[in-house]
């Protein structure tokens, strides 16, 4: 939990950022021994200097984004285990950190398999459910909001999400649609409308299922939380994220689909823009309260449909960037750093990113030209990327070593985090070690 200092209102954005990073850096960790504690402090200090863009001894290599699956798969863990058997991941994860001594901690995302089953979740399929056991989890696009519903969404995003989107994508939650409009609960008799659903069998059945699902979730979180604490306790700091997306990607990924949203730019531009605008305050609130709750100093954006080629530069600026920028600037004001995981290539968008204030961004690239990144962005922001998944999968150890060495050389003097361009399932221990050790002197 992050507690604001008393003089928060007088603090500048960078002072607030410092306060959040201080709290994250000094959060209590149950160290297993003094050596682990010393290692943790050295690692987090280096990462902190990188976040602060201050001189430091060397870049770090972060295996999380690329290798988070491989590090358990190498010990025979499969996709189904990652979704359902979280306790099975603990040993392999501790072993990996011990053996490879990475600069940061890494683990697969905590997919709540049993809970997803209980909610009858539609927008993904996963191992042990509809995918074979060796696969983890995959998105399936659907149209969960019709083009005609944009206006309804923009008028009240929360209400739309609760009563239309959630019931469609998680049929267990269908009874939510029975709820009244909350802001009209005012007079004593309005309590009747507020409470009626709670007395009806379908709603009560839903509540019962949700309580059971909640119990399952708590069990899983206890296991995953314990594993995380053990990894930290063994000397490995995490990067500190809350996941978020841009307004355009929330609409595109979640309710309209890739083809749907890209054609909406022509068919209903004003509705689309109004919906993106409506998202802005919702996201700002959501990220600030998550960061306050769990103390993470960064918001991690997974960026999809604004990449080069998806839309023209004019469309990018109008539909994608304008509302996204508002969110990032508001978070910056609150001292929260935006970590951008930029999928695909962003060669045409670097100048847009360059408009953001100094230290407001960590830019993690996949296919973007890293030489231009160095030129255009590395004075202002922390840079991460971009060892290819293809190299980790099908390249040789020497090729991995050479690619990493090039990056280290290129970003000499910058604040740089060695990462992969995207994740992969298969590599070898030797290649992963070459990656992790590439930054060590």
């Amino acid at each position: 939990m992050f507690i604001r200092p008393d003089n928060w209102n007088q603090m500048s954005p960078l002072e607030r950022r410092k306060a959040r990073l201080d709290a994250w850096q000094n959060a209590p960790v149950p160290f297993i021994n003094p050596q682990a504690e010393a290692n943790y402090k050295e690692r987090i200090e280096r990462l902190r200097k990188i976040y602060d863009m201050e001189p430091h001894d060397r870049p770090i290599a972060d295996p999380f984004m690329g290798a988070n699956e491989y590090i358990v798969r190498r010990k025979g863990i499969n996709g189904k285990d990652m979704v359902y058997n979280h306790e099975k991941l603990r040993e392999p994860l501790l072993e990996f950190h011990n053996e490879f001594q990475p600069d940061t901690s890494a683990m697969p995302l905590p997919y709540p398999g049993k809970v997803m089953d209980m909610l009858d979740y539609k927008s993904y399929i996963w191992g042990g459910q509809k995918l074979p056991d060796n696969l983890t989890i995959q998105a399936v696009e659907g149209e969960y909001m019709t083009g005609d519903e944009y206006k309804e969404f923009a008028a009240d995003p929360t209400n739309f999400w609760m009563k239309k989107y959630l019931p469609r994508v998680m049929p267990t939650l269908a009874p939510l649609a029975m709820l009244t409009e909350f802001p009209r609960v005012s007079e004593n008799v309005d309590i009747i409308d507020l409470m009626v659903p709670f007395g009806l069998p379908p709603f009560q059945a839903m509540l019962k299922t949700l309580m059971e699902a909640g119990d399952e979730l708590m069990k899983m979180l206890a296991i995953v939380g314990q594993t995380g604490a053990m990894i930290a306790g063994a000397g490995f700091p995490g990067m500190g994220f809350n996941i978020v997306k841009t307004p355009f990607d929330y609409l595109g990924d979640t309710v309209r689909g890739t083809k749907g949203i890209l054609t909406d730019m022509y068919r209903r531009p004003n509705d689309l823009l109004a919906a993106c605008e409506a998202y802005v305050p919702v996201l700002i609130n959501a990220v600030i309260s998550a960061s306050d709750r769990n103390g993470a100093p960064c918001a991690l954006y997974v960026l999809h449909k604004g990449a080069d080629g998806f839309m023209s530069q004019a469309q990018f600026e109008k539909f994608y960037w304008s509302t996204w920028k508002q969110v990032m600037l508001a978070l910056y004001e609150e001292g929260i750093t935006s970590y951008l995981f930029i999928e695909g290539s962003y060669n045409n968008r670097l100048e847009n990113l360059a408009q953001m204030p100094e230290k407001s961004l960590v830019c993690h690239f996949d296919k973007t030209d890293m030489r231009r990144v160095k030129e255009v962005l590395s004075d202002k922001f922390i840079i991460a990327g971009n060892v290819p998944a293809s190299l980790m999968t099908a390249g040789t150890v020497d090729e991995v070593r050479a690619y990493c060495a090039d990056l280290v050389e290129l970003f000499e003097g910058s604040s740089y985090i060695m990462t992969h361009g995207c994740y992969f399932e298969n590599t070898t221990d030797e290649k992963l070690r070459a990656f992790i050790d590439s930054v060590k002197k």
Binding site: L135, V140, L262, T263, S312, S390, T393, A394, Y423
Partner: protein, 206 residues
């Protein structure tokens, strides 16, 4: 009028394009002339894509405009005007992968450049590629894939085509994480970085 239709499509004025099509047909224009206009418009859009002036958003919308127009035009065509094609290409996204946007763009560009494209869709198993090559007699196969999990199905598909004795068939691969490393890994004949590369490869093999 044909010119107006071409402009409407190229400028992404969807409703106008459909309206003009109806007006043309009602005014007695030969349906084949309408289709020619569409082809010309798609050629312009394809050219702009090549030079980086057109984007996925436009190609998708153009595809949708085109299918609305063909729905109006097709029933009025007596006999299919057989245009001459340079060659046949079998195209699909490999097994386990459902990313189809890039594959459809590759199909679109091959089509406007004069190839007859059989699009097998997504999550296509190796046997289905083999079957399609055999039944069509195509000499070119394009495999698309975006997942690292697609590397092995690509390799299996290349192997299945070779195992079926279709040794004269040329295979190109492409998609997000695919590069020269993966070409070697899969044993494909070539890797194409974008849809223009797909066209160049197909032309060099025809």
């Amino acid at each position: 009028m044909s010119k107006e239709l071409i402009d409407a499509i190229v400028d992404m004025r969807e409703e106008d394009a459909v309206k003009i099509t109806a007006q043309l047909l009602d005014g007695g224009t030969d349906p084949l002339v309408v289709l020619d206009a569409c082809r010309e418009a798609m050629g312009v859009i394809g050219m702009r894509f090549e030079t980086g002036e057109s984007f996925i958003s436009e190609l998708i919308l153009a595809g949708e405009i085109l299918s609305q127009i063909s729905a109006i035009v097709k029933p009025r065509i007596q006999k299919g005007g057989a245009e001459k094609k340079i060659g046949k290409v079998i195209l699909g996204t490999v097994q386990g992968d459902i990313h189809d946007i890039a594959k459809d763009i590759v199909g679109f560009m091959l089509d406007v450049n004069g190839f007859e494209v059989t699009n097998l869709g997504v999550d296509v198993p190796p046997a289905k590629f083999v079957e399609a090559v055999k039944s069509s007699g195509a000499k070119i196969v394009g495999l698309s894939g975006f997942l690292t999990l697609a590397f092995d199905p690509m390799k299996d598909t290349v192997a299945a085509i070779k195992a079926a004795g279709l040794n004269e068939v040329k295979i190109m691969i492409g998609g997000g994480q695919i590069d020269e490393n993966i070409r070697q890994y899969t044993g494909a004949d070539a890797y194409g970085k974008d849809a223009m590369a797909a066209v160049a490869l197909a032309k060099s093999w025809s």
